[in-house]
């Protein structure tokens, strides 16, 4: 520990008299033009920019509520996930043959790793004293190329994504409670659930929940079909048809 010579006390701390190597910041009076105090002059301008920014941000927030898909179901298959937009370029990169399959490690580790290290090491990769981008073309060009390729990859990933399917696959499905011991439900699971789902939530066919179906309408659809639904789906007695129609109609009105 340094003692005595070359040290001085500030309060009860021992500090070197002067650090010879520290590069002091420039005195701003050397800079051209007007300088102004941070508080309150400059901070006021910053906060005005901040206020305008905040208003825009709140409008975005109110206009477009944060999305929420249906609760995660690990057993579901065929869901095509999409990362948040700022990882899309990486997602797209992994689709190319040169960065997938046996070369997967190139896309997942090598390229992002190199980019991260290069970014961290930028001050040592670009050591010249010149700061103007035009005077250090290599650094500028590399950064521009990286930037443009990231935008391109992001764009590619969005045009090749099936947005309609994506919206369908995550939709929150309304469910209602109903009595599964109802005789109508037994008929429903025999005749209808393969298309309309175990809980009437819809599968190949549409959901029946919240549709306010009339019993007569249910009977007609079940026997004669309509729309996408073929005729003669229901096979059973008229009494069963009545029970089924009542059940479906009741649940659809819940």
């Amino acid at each position: 520990m340094h003692r005595g010579k070359g040290m001085k006390f500030v309060g009860d701390s021992r500090v070197p008299v002067k650090s010879r190597k520290f590069i002091p910041p420039k005195d701003y009076s050397e800079y051209p033009g007007k300088t102004e105090a941070f508080l309150p002059n400059f901070l006021l301008k910053e906060w005005m920019v901040g206020a305008v920014f905040l208003v825009g941000f709140m409008i975005l927030t109110i206009a477009d509520p944060a999305p929420l898909e249906k609760e995660a179901d690990p057993t579901s298959s065929g869901y095509i996930p999409l990362p948040d937009w700022y990882f899309l370029f990486l997602y797209q990169l992994l689709k190319y043959p040169a960065a997938s399959g046996q070369y997967k490690v190139i896309g997942t580790v090598l390229i992002p790793g190199l980019a991260a290290v290069a970014l961290l090491a930028a001050p040592w990769l670009d050591r010249g004293l010149e700061r103007r981008p035009i005077k250090r073309p290599i650094a500028t060009l590399i950064m521009l190329l990286t930037f443009v390729s990231m935008i391109y990859l992001t764009w590619e990933s969005t045009v090749s994504h099936n947005w309609e399917q994506a919206e369908q696959q995550g939709k929150i499905v309304q469910t209602v409670d109903f009595d599964k011991s109802d005789p109508g439900y037994k008929l429903f699971s025999q005749n209808c659930s393969s298309c309309h789902g175990e809980n009437l939530e819809g599968a190949v066919g549409p959901s029946l929940i919240g549709k306010n179906l009339d019993p007569a309408m249910v009977k007609k659809m079940a026997t004669q079909g309509g729309g996408q639904m073929p005729a003669g789906v229901f096979k059973g007695s008229d009494k069963d048809l009545d029970a089924l129609a009542k059940f479906v109609s009741d649940v659809s009105k819940k």
């Binding site: 590069i23 910041p25 420039k26 800079y31 051209p32 033009g33 007007k34 102004e36 105090a37 941070f38 508080l39 002059n41 400059f42 301008k45 920019v49 901040g50 920014f53 905040l54 941000f57 975005l60 927030t61 109110i62 477009d64 509520p65 944060a66 999305p67 929420l68 898909e69 609760e71 995660a72 179901d73 690990p74 869901y79 095509i80 996930p81 990362p83 948040d84 937009w85 700022y86 990486l90 997602y91 992994l94 997967k104 490690v105 997942t108 580790v109 991260a116 970014l119 961290l120 930028a122 001050p123 040592w124 670009d126 010249g128 700061r131 950064m143 930037f147 696959q169 995550g170 929150i172």
Partner: protein, 223 residues
């Protein structure tokens, strides 16, 4: 009254020089958008900080309702978004704030890069800045899982598979991150801890270093 209280504290702790250093430092013309409109590019750093403040505040409030548990996480998010007054706005602020923070960090990084402000003697601050960028990306990734909806689960699975492709230690990283051999209850708890405690702690530490270095070195000069 306030003045007296201030004087009482100042007499004992001499706090005036502390804030005077921040308050009175001169801001040069070339970063002042009031003189040169193009200087608005120098606002991105400040706006990044502003969005981080929004993220921390809205995140703190969201945890008043949110529970990190696979049986209840989605229900609690659905509840706070649909049943609690202004829940849709508070969650919206956190959701969109995440994207806006990343945009702002991106623009700030590009500004620093293209004005060559990372050069000697500011290399260290550049490194801290890049680390901040990574921490913020990490926050984005871990936060994506928390609502426990379909997209959260399956995007996280992909993300963890990417981590698993790391040579030699990939599988360890994956298990360490997901806390189990599947993405499930323990993953959610772990991501919650990382998202709410570990990464924000790193973020605040790095931010403090970032700002101290700016005060120590001053803003880089005009081009």
């Amino acid at each position: 009254m306030l003045q007296k209280l201030y004087d009482w504290v100042d007499e004992r702790l001499d706090i005036t020089p502390l804030w005077r250093d921040v308050a009175d430092h001169e801001v040069p013309e070339h970063v002042n958008p009031a003189y040169h409109f193009s200087a608005f590019v120098y606002c991105f750093g400040g706006l990044t900080f502003f969005t981080i403040v929004i993220q921390i505040l809205s995140g703190m409030f969201l945890t008043m309702y949110y529970v990190p548990d696979i049986n209840n996480a989605w229900d609690s998010v659905y509840y706070l978004q649909n049943q609690v007054a202004y829940g849709v706005i508070v969650r919206g602020m956190h959701h969109w704030g995440a994207s806006v923070t990343i945009v702002m960090v991106f623009l700030h990084t590009l500004r620093v890069f293209f004005t060559g402000a990372y050069k000697k003697p500011r290399e260290l601050n550049w490194i801290v800045g890049v680390l901040l960028f990574f921490v913020i990306l990490g926050l984005g990734f871990t936060g994506y899982l928390l609502p426990w909806d379909m997209k959260a689960l399956f995007a996280t699975k992909v993300g963890l598979d990417i981590a698993a492709s790391f040579p030699f230690i990939g599988d360890w990283i994956k298990v360490l991150l997901q806390g189990s051999d599947i993405v499930g209850a323990q993953t959610l708890a772990r991501f919650f801890a990382i998202h709410v405690f570990f990464l924000p702690a790193a973020l605040l530490g790095l931010l403090a270093a970032h700002f101290l270095m700016i005060r120590r070195q001053g803003i880089s000069g005009p081009l």
